[in-house]
């Protein structure tokens, strides 16, 4: 078969126009977009900066112009609205200003409310308000402060209310705790007081009922022991009611038991001490030992219980000893009192007698008064003086004292324990045996003998002048007479010193200070005599002096003569001083 005609095979391709990617436009768009974003960010940043600045400035403005504490206080008192800077619906600046103001106001109000709550709490404690009353007060304070912001700034008002509420709750809790504690303490102290009262008043009365167990059983009545047990239970219940600890309750009950024992012992003691005399007291103790005691003592033994019977018997014996001792003491006290009274009486009489020497009428008058004062206290002594009264008016005063009487009185005065009294001196004066000056001198001296301090000073003086023994002065030139003269001089000066300030004068102290002066004074004759002894014995150096010393180291004895070491040393020192000066 012949081939068919060849037909040109058409290309199926059409006109191919390649797609153009408009990259530049895209780049421009992307760039613009990026730039736009950058600029937007920059703008946003600038805006945020501006906002921050506005906020800061607003806050500063608000803080600077916020109401002062005084304005807040005035507003709270008068109820007027406070002028607040800024506006919560205004610009950023205004909002920031208002916010800052509100923060400050909030702080101020919180501070004020807290202060008021604390003050109310303190006042409440002072006035003893109940927690409910306190709660009302706290709520009133909280509402008052928060209400100031309720309309203008409810958000801040809520916050304020919450914060004050937290604080007031804490304060309320503390107040309630304190209140409860206080009430509890009060109850406890009331119970303790009542227990104390029971110890002091009720318990002794119950013990005094004195119904022994045996007596009570016989008559079907409660014994003292049962009553005491009931009282103990009663106290225990009272203590438990106010939540005392077990140890505290135990302690108080132990105290109760001790008190009961104490009262029981008291009964036994009082029973014995009530005896009229020692025989009766011994009899009472004997009865107790035999168990034949009265009802009240038997009750005391009941209360003490069998384990303390020995103690009670011992106490009975001790009380008997005490009874004896107190009886003796009483006698002694009575005697001492009487002696003191007699001394006072004689002192007063002496004063009157001294007054009589100067002013006879006034002295007589004082006599009468003194006798009247002591009439009831010392009847025999006063009667004795009264008997002499007629003679008191008749005065016979010699020019000079009777030498013998005066000597005897002087001896008595120089003894450590004078036997005579003022009465003796007055008697002698009335008998006309003493001159006026001697009488006054002796009266004063005897009167001062009764002064303990003065008496001690004189004792010291006598010891210092070696006048401890009584002696009779026959030769006025004798050593004894010289020492007596010195002692008299010492006493005269002491009396003169006393005259300057009789109330504050301390005789013993004065004697201590001045005695060396009297003891070391040597007469010219003494010194001359001493010098002669030293010359004769050639004792012109310390060594020679020491060699001449006797065993006691105080007295140098040569050729039958005596010289004190003290005087010899003084003479040597004086000689040496003279030599040096030359």
């Amino acid at each position: 078969m012949a081939e068919r005609n060849v037909v040109y095979q058409r290309n199926r391709r059409s006109l191919n126009i390649p797609q153009v990617d408009y990259a530049n436009a895209k780049a421009v768009a992307a760039g613009n977009s990026m730039l736009n974003q950058s600029i937007n960010r920059l703008t946003a940043f600038m805006e945020s900066q501006a906002e921050i600045t506005a906020q800061i400035e607003g806050a500063e403005y608000g803080a600077a112009n916020s109401p002062t504490l005084e304005q807040i206080e005035t507003s709270l008192l008068t109820g007027e609205d406070l002028e607040l800077p800024g506006n919560k619906r205004g610009s950023v600046f205004e909002r920031a200003a208002r916010n800052a103001t509100m923060e400050i106001l909030h702080d101020e109000l919180t501070f004020k409310a807290r202060s008021e709550i604390i003050a109310a709490s303190i006042k409440g404690k002072e006035n003893n308000l109940t927690p409910v009353e306190m709660r009302e007060k706290f709520d009133a304070i909280m509402s008052g402060y928060a209400a100031t912001l309720d309309i203008e700034e409810p958000k801040f008002a809520k916050r304020l209310r919450a914060q004050i509420g937290i604080f007031s709750n804490a304060e309320y809790k503390s107040y309630t705790n304190d209140y409860v504690k206080k009430v509890k303490e009060q109850k406890r102290s009331h119970v303790l007081a009542s227990v104390q009262m029971s110890f002091e008043d009720v318990l002794p009365r119950i013990v005094e009922t004195g119904v022994s167990v045996q007596y009570g059983n016989e008559r079907g009545m409660p014994s003292t022991k049962e009553l005491i047990a009931k009282e103990k239970v009663n106290i225990m219940l009272r203590l438990q009611k106010v939540d005392f600890t077990a140890s505290k309750v135990e302690q108080i009950l132990n105290e109760f038991d001790k008190k009961v024992d104490e009262y029981a012992y008291d009964i036994i003691e009082s029973h014995i001490l009530s005896a009229n005399d020692e025989i009766m007291a011994i009899k009472m103790v004997g009865e107790i030992m035999r168990g034949e005691m009265p009802e009240s003592v038997a009750t005391a033994f009941d209360l003490l219980g069998p384990e303390k019977i020995q103690d009670a018997r011992k106490l009975a014996n001790e009380t008997l000893d005490m009874y004896r001792k107190s009886a003796e003491d009483l006698v002694k006290i009575k005697e001492a009192n009487r002696e003191a009274l007699v001394t006072d009486f004689e002192n007063s009489i002496a004063k009157a007698a001294i007054l009589r020497t100067n002013n006879f009428e006034a002295g007589n008058l004082l006599f009468i008064e003194v006798l009247a004062d002591y009439e009831k206290l010392l009847p025999p002594e006063v009667a004795e003086y009264r008997a002499k009264m007629p003679r008191i008016g008749a005065r016979i005063v010699p020019e000079s004292s009777d030498a013998e009487v005066k000597n005897v009185i002087l001896q008595d005065l120089f003894s450590n324990r004078p036997k005579f009294t003022i009465k003796t001196i007055i008697d002698n004066y009335n008998k006309g045996q003493l001159s006026q000056p001697d009488y006054a001198d002796f009266l004063e001296k005897y009167r001062l003998r009764f002064n303990e301090n003065y008496s001690r000073a004189l004792k010291l003086g006598r010891a210092s002048f070696d006048l401890n023994e009584s002696f009779i002065i026959i030769n006025p030139e004798s050593d004894n007479a010289k020492r007596v003269n010195k002692f008299n001089q010492f006493e005269r000066e002491m009396m003169a010193a006393r005259e300057e300030d009789p109330t504050e004068f301390d005789a013993y102290k004065w004697a201590e200070q001045n005695l060396p002066r009297f003891l070391n004074e040597h007469s010219v004759e003494e010194i001359e005599s001493a010098k002669a002894i030293i010359d004769r014995n050639s004792m012109w150096t310390e060594t020679e002096l020491s060699a001449a010393m006797n065993g006691n180291g105080k007295v140098i004895s040569r050729d039958g003569e005596k010289l004190t070491r003290d005087l010899a040393t003084k003479i040597l020192d004086a000689q040496k001083l003279l030599k040096d000066n030359k």
Partner: protein
């Protein structure tokens, strides 16, 4: 440490600026390379179209020759008008010419569009660079303002 803090602060800003420019520069370089590539590709496409047209012409010549040969073999005047094969060849010629023109147009279009695309990429590269600079400047300005605020505060 405290002594080098100010230096670090400014170094950071400078680095950020340089990095932004470098990023834009890289993007710009990439776009320029793409422009070059697209130009090459479209030239290659144009060449392919030209080859295709040439191939089509060769096919046309073969089909005309075959028809002429077949006519001559059938005792027909191969160049006589009005004959079937002559008419076929005229038709073949028309279609072949159409394909040839199509191929040539495609090649021209490929070159032209390639040029245009390359221009776009080049322009985009320039634009990227410009915006890179602008963006870096904007960021630097913001950083400078921020820094000045911080310094004022401190």
């Amino acid at each position: 440490m405290a002594a080098i803090l100010p230096f670090l602060k400014y170094a950071g800003q400078a680095m950020s600026f340089v990095t932004t420019i470098a990023q834009a520069s890289a993007e710009s370089g990439r776009l320029r390379q793409q422009a070059y590539d697209v130009k090459l590709k479209n030239r290659a496409d144009a060449l392919a179209y030209t080859r295709e047209g040439t191939e089509k012409l060769r096919e046309l010549r073969m089909s005309i020759a075959a028809n002429l040969a077949r006519g001559a073999a059938g005792n027909l005047d191969p160049f006589a008008a009005g004959e079937t094969f002559a008419m076929l060849n005229v038709n073949n010629l028309k279609q072949g010419a159409s394909d040839q023109y199509m191929a040539r147009d495609n090649a021209e279009l490929s070159v032209l569009i390639g040029e245009r695309q390359a221009e776009q990429y080049n322009d985009a590269a320039a634009t990227t660079m410009q915006f890179g600079f602008l963006s870096a400047a904007t960021d630097a300005t913001k950083s400078a303002i921020k820094m000045s605020k911080i310094e004022k505060e401190s």
